[in-house]
């Protein structure tokens, strides 16, 4: 979600095998320099895809002698996913971050073969996609300050997850401003 000179990204913590909850500590958001990558979908691919991008961004960092910017990273995600067009990773990635040079907030989402969905307000992914769209559509307003953005994204996630049998079991929210990242764990229904 985009606010005024800030972005926020959040995920739940459940890992499940069909209806059986297996873990309530499975984080789906990863930090790569000052860019944040959220991954939903098949858990093994979430881990593998994260490891691949960690590798690619580390190599990028050493080659370019700077961290990757969100816009470039989004294109890296897109081309890396499309590379597997006929044997894809089963993930629904989101990218969020603030361009360190221009200070511009950036978010985008992808389908599992890398088509970029640029947005100026919010992007969603995962099993609770429908519920999240509903919540975001009604709660979101533009140019929120970081604290208000935190409240908005948290309520949107929590209430969408409660309407989805496969989501929940705790949540993590990152609020990102130009010079600070705040990470908060949220308690939520444990059923």
């Amino acid at each position: 979600m985009v606010g005024k000179d800030c972005v926020a990204i959040a995920c739940d913590l459940r890992l499940g095998n069909q209806s059986l909850g297996v873990a309530n500590n499975f984080e789906k958001i990863f930090q790569l320099g000052h860019v944040f990558l959220g991954l939903t979908g098949l858990a093994t691919d979430v881990t593998t895809v994260y490891e691949n991008f960690r590798m690619k961004t580390n190599l990028y960092k050493m080659r370019e002698e700077r961290e990757i910017e969100p816009e470039s990273f989004a294109n890296l995600v897109s081309s890396s996913l499309y590379e597997r067009r006929f044997g894809p990773w089963f993930v629904g990635p989101l990218v969020a971050g603030i361009n360190s040079k221009t200070g511009k907030p950036f978010i985008c989402g992808f389908d599992f073969i890398g088509c970029i969905d640029y947005a100026k307000d919010f992007v969603v992914s995962g099993t609770a996609t429908d519920q999240l769209y509903g919540m975001c559509e009604s709660l979101y307003e533009p140019d929120l300050e970081p604290e208000d953005l935190f409240e908005t994204i948290s309520q949107a996630l929590l209430n969408a997850a409660d309407r989805d049998a496969l989501s929940g079991w705790g949540a993590v929210v990152y609020v990102i401003t130009k010079d600070k990242v705040i990470k908060r764990y949220l308690k939520s229904r444990q059923d």
Binding site: E51, N52, R54, M55, N58, L59, M62, E65
Partner: protein, 252 residues
């Protein structure tokens, strides 16, 4: 005599020598000096860059210091182009290790991997060996701070203080004289600069001619790895007093 055997990298001469490897080693002895000094709380690498012409565009980034992963840097002596190939492959290999084991590659393992590549080119024929020596500075869980060198033959060794490149024997002697166990990172920095200033062929060290990098711990005990900018080196040169001592030396 040597002409019959030295055109191949892979063939022993009757005296049991590999000429191409020796030539590569010799080539490095003419390259800019690089020095590594270990301290109790970090490692210092310093290297001399040869400025060939004042018309040459000065690259802002270091050309002899390379970050290999979050915990290792290296200094290069020899053919920079050859080094690039090895550095690319070792960066990739270090990331591959990170992906497999979920932790950073141990320094010695990383050095060993470079050396396996180098060794390969002394045995599998047709090509010339890599014309580079490295000094590696790094940190890992098992041995803490570490300093290694490697050369074109594919041998490597661990050191408290060492040097490669031009005048490495005299640098080595100076290091042996002045090295003390349990030095701080700052003392090690000064020692490295002092030795570099004494072994350099030009009469004065300037920030254009020196490259510098350190690995140490910051206030929170987190590993800090950095390649110094020319401005930072300029400041260090002034503060360490290496410049003034040289000027005094010239006067007397």
């Amino acid at each position: 005599m040597s002409r019959r055997y030295d055109s191949r990298t892979t063939i022993f001469s009757p005296e049991g020598r590999l000429y191409q490897v020796e030539y590569a080693l010799e080539a490095i002895n003419h390259a800019g000096t690089a020095i590594g000094v270990m301290a109790k709380d970090g490692v210092v690498l310093a290297a001399e860059r040869k400025v060939t012409s004042k018309l040459l565009e000065q690259d802002t980034s270091a050309e002899k210091m390379y970050v290999l992963n979050d915990k290792t840097v290296c200094a290069v002596a020899g053919m920079t182009a050859d080094a690039g190939i090895l550095i690319n492959s070792i960066r990739y290999s270090a990331q591959q290790y990170l992906k497999t084991y979920g932790e950073d590659i141990p320094i010695e393992t990383l050095v060993k991997r470079i050396c396996d590549v180098k060794q390969g080119y002394t045995q599998h024929g047709g090509l010339r060996p890599f014309g580079v020596s490295f000094i590696f500075a790094g940190h890992d869980e098992r041995y803490g701070f570490q300093l290694y060198t490697s050369n074109p033959s594919g041998n490597y060794s661990g050191w408290k203080a060492t040097s490669i490149g031009a005048n490495n024997t005299s640098a080595q002697t100076l290091l042996k004289q002045d090295y003390k166990d349990g030095m701080t990172l700052e003392e090690a920095q000064n020692l490295a600069l002092k030795v570099l200033s004494k072994t350099t062929d030009s009469n004065k060290l300037t920030s254009e001619k020196v490259e510098f990098s350190t690995i140490g711990l910051d206030a929170d005990g987190k590993l800090q790895l950095r390649i110094w900018t020319p401005e930072q080196i300029e400041k260090l040169l002034k503060e360490s007093g290496v410049l003034t001592r040289d000027e005094e030396g010239e006067e007397s």
